[in-house]
């Protein structure tokens, strides 16, 4: 309804006299603020959802004391973190230390400027949508590296360097997979990609979906790739020296990135807001929650990988498969007749199965694995 309201209000505003003071820039401001508030609320909802789902899958309840069903738990966490003392190390680089959370958080929010919540309901209908998303999400890495550097703690620096290495390695298969989707849709604009999905791209690009999901989990440092924020990793990570609200920003960054990746996966592969019966923004939310649930599910079940296994996975497993995926998609787009999507789905799924099996047979991890 907010989005219908926004469209109708935009149309209303266009009927105002052209010498309206200040032009129309202020309605972008209003809707930017609305979207940011909506996102923060959604991030808090995701924190609650993850803890409850994690608890239920471990045969216990999640938080259930604060508010009905524990819904106010993220609020309680936020309040706790706000009243903590903000400690800055004495030898730290003050400006870098202060800017790092901001530089890490703002790009993640900026991704949401181009995600379509409904047909035409975007904050900015860029026609290079997905390229913008890829570019912006790389800036968040700079924020993390600034955090590691500005902390004057050699373990934070080590953690931050590992993080940068892993994020940069995983960008490449991610972008190549996106290129596969773009080939089929024929456009970079996210709105057009959703409109082009009469058959959701997860069926047309199963291998692409798998690779994107694994790459996305690795980009946002979620299990099974969360070795940088893990408890049993000794070099305690880039956010050791942060406390108080700045730490809360990093914590929010993790969940906001998870939300952003879920939203991108939904838009690219699952058909965005398309669906019968229910209003489109509700479909979008449902799909985002389902993708997030799959992320929580893998977090509950899988143990962590080691840093060298992480890099080996990116370079030796994901990258070649992404390139082969791109090649096959290109061949199909050029040669396959458009009227037979279902056969193409079956062929693609078969190719994915064959490739995964074949590649695992060839895939040997780095030093220290005994072949049985």
């Amino acid at each position: 309804m907010i989005l219908n309201f926004s469209r109708s209000s935009m149309q209303y505003l266009q009927t105002l006299p052209p010498d309206w003071p200040g032009g129309f820039w202020w309605h972008w401001l209003v809707f930017t603020v609305i979207i940011i508030i909506f996102l923060l609320a959604l991030v808090m909802g995701f924190i609650w959802f993850e803890r409850r789902a994690l608890g239920r899958m471990q045969a216990r309840l999640g938080p259930n004391r604060v508010g009905p069903l524990g819904l106010l738990q993220p609020v309680a966490d936020a309040l706790k973190v706000l009243i903590k003392e903000d400690i800055v190390p004495a030898k730290a680089d003050k400006l870098v230390h202060w800017l790092a959370p901001v530089v890490a958080f703002v790009p993640v929010l900026m991704i949401f400027a181009v995600i379509p919540f409904q047909d035409g309901a975007l904050l900015a209908d860029l026609n290079i949508g997905i390229l913008y998303v890829v570019a912006i999400s790389s800036v968040a890495t700079v924020g993390i590296f600034m955090a590691g550097w500005g902390s004057s703690n050699k373990y934070s620096l080590l953690g931050a360097m590992r993080e940068v290495a892993s994020v940069v390695s995983y960008e490449i298969p991610l972008v190549i997979t996106i290129a596969g989707v773009v080939l089929i849709a024929g456009t970079l604009s996210l709105n057009q990609i959703v409109l082009a999905q009469d058959v959701p791209f997860i069926l047309l690009q199963p291998l692409g979906f798998l690779l994107f999901f694994i790459g996305a989990c690795a980009e946002i440092n979620r299990s099974p790739f969360d070795l940088l924020e893990a408890d049993s990793e000794l070099t305690a990570g880039f956010h050791t020296e942060y406390s108080g609200m700045k730490f809360a920003m990093f914590y929010l960054v993790e969940y906001a990135e998870a939300l952003a990746m879920s939203a991108i996966i939904t838009t690219l592969f699952l058909g965005g807001w398309r669906g019968p019966l229910l209003p489109p923004w509700l479909w979008f939310l449902i799909k985002v929650v389902v993708v997030f649930f799959v992320m929580v599910w893998t977090r509950t079940t899988l143990p962590r990988v080691r840093i060298d296994q992480l890099m080996a996975l990116a370079w030796k497993f994901l990258l070649p498969l992404a390139l082969i995926n791109l090649l096959i998609t290109a061949i199909e787009v050029l040669t396959w007749p458009v009227a037979l999507p279902w056969v193409m789905i079956l062929v693609n799924i078969a190719i994915m199965a064959v490739l995964v099996v074949l590649w695992s047979k060839l895939f040997k991890l780095g030093w220290g694995r005994v072949e049985i």
């Binding site: 789902a53 899958m57 045969a59 259930n64 599910w297 079940t301 047979k361 895939f363 049985i372």
Partner: protein
Amino acid sequence: MKFERYGIGIAKGLMVTIKHLLRRPVTVQYPEQRLNVSRRIRGNELVWDRIKCTGCATCSKTCPQGVIQIITSVNLVENKYEVEKFEVDTGYCIFCGLCVEACPYDALYLGYAYERAKYRRGELVQANEMLLESADRRRSGYFHPEVAAELPRQTLLLERITEEE
């Protein structure tokens, strides 16, 4: 042992975790819901029966920690030992129950309650009247099956959880 490396191991693990969503959680909301403890629980206090106690101090000799202090005196009029002071330092006691096993006159029992925290360390040393049985301080059935028979049955996790919902 065959190792499949095609991601099937991961898929099987995911199946197990998702099945747990459908099971009832095994936790209990503590202060509001409580489980019945064992009938033989070695609770955090000692219950003393003044009438049966003769002051023989077998319990004191058996105690590994030496927490029981007994002072008796001779009562020549009634020709018996009188127990003047029977003091237990529950702060130092490890609730092993050896004293309960040692008592030849069934005069000493372990308590049934386990929430016996005090605010001051001095209150942990209990003597004479503080150790008697009352509605608040019940006896547990440790080493005394006749007391155990009257206590409620223990809740077992085996019986609370049935296989599937």
